[in-house]
């Protein structure tokens, strides 16, 4: 069990770098390379992916998805690849470290403010947030707690399925872990979808607050 949790590999200027960070870098290069390759060979595949993301975001948000698609689509692709890449031997999935989901959830937290202020202006946004003034503390607590729950949901799902695979692997190393590995890939893709849909819901509700 010692090697299961993220390890510090080396230090850059006194900042410890964990193995999950290194696999994040490798993954970013991989995503960019595969995207360039696929765009050159099969442009229709990229089109299908963008169409799917566009439809999902537009359905949930009930407005045109173009301004939000670059952010939300990048989020979805990053999390999906990060969750699935853990099945490759000797590669740890970046979302196994709680810092990666926390960083993603903080990006969502600040993007809610960014899109809300861009849609309604600074004064309009904060007036909408405190429309009856006593609701302001509740609103702030709600925003912080849903950031926490986004973090814990992604991290907990990934680490629990990988723990199950690790425990079964210790007991029966031969065929038995295979269906569980498939299940963990399914869970990872589902969690990427859920994270993106929830981020969409939060951004949409941030732009609608006090609009009625």
């Amino acid at each position: 069990m010692e090697g299961f949790f993220p390890q510090v590999v080396f230090n850059i200027f006194g900042i410890p770098v964990r193995d999950t960070v290194i696999s994040t870098w490798v993954m970013m290069v991989l995503i960019v390379a595969v995207t360039i390759l696929v765009r050159r060979r099969w442009p229709a595949a990229i089109e299908m992916l963008v169409d799917f993301l566009n439809d999902t975001v537009a359905d949930v948000m009930e407005r045109p998805a173009e301004p939000y698609l670059p952010f939300l689509g990048a989020l979805a692709i990053f999390i999906a690849v990060a969750n699935v890449i853990g099945v490759v031997p000797f590669v740890v999935s970046p979302t196994r470290d709680i810092n990666t989901p926390l960083a993603l959830a903080l990006i969502v937290f600040f993007s809610v403010y960014y899109f809300g202020i861009r849609a309604k202006g600074v004064a309009g946004y904060f007036k909408g947030m405190a429309s009856p003034i006593f609701m302001l503390p509740m609103e702030i607590i709600g925003q912080l707690s849903r950031t926490l729950s986004l973090t814990i949901r992604l991290f907990g799902n990934i680490i629990s399925t990988e723990l199950i695979v690790a425990v079964i692997f210790m007991l029966v190393p031969l065929i038995a872990p295979l269906p569980l590995i498939g299940f963990s890939m399914f869970t990872g893709l589902l969690q990427a979808y859920i994270f993106t849909v929830l981020a969409t819901v939060y951004i949409g509700s941030g732009m609608e607050a006090g609009e009625q």
Binding site: M1, F5, D59, V60, S149, I152, R153, F155, G156, N157, I159, S160, L163, L190, Y193, I194, V197, L198, V201
Partner: protein
């Protein structure tokens, strides 16, 4: 029981409470999620034209419900792998 040293006692209580906690913490969300799926399926069979909307809402609701089970799992992982009491006293 009185002769047991504190480290063993804390470990024993931790393991017992982890078992009880994961039982209750997964039982309740599982029942509630089952009810949510039941109601959503009833809605889908009654009005197939809104099935897509219902599916999205169902997935979001199940993610929110499941996060309670994940909180329990996180607490138990902390208790088992990084028990603060064991670190403080021993």
């Amino acid at each position: 029981m009185a002769e047991m040293d504190p480290g063993t006692l804390i470990t024993l209580v931790t393991i017992l409470m982890s078992g009880i906690g994961i039982l209750l913490g997964t039982l309740v969300p599982a029942i509630v999620e089952g009810r949510a799926v039941l109601k959503a399926l009833e809605g889908m069979t009654r009005q197939p034209e809104v099935a897509g909307q219902l599916r999205t809402t169902l997935l979001i609701a199940m993610a929110l419900l499941e996060s309670t089970a994940i909180y329990v799992l996180l607490i138990i992982l902390i208790l088992i792998f990084a028990n603060p009491l064991l670190d403080r006293f021993f």
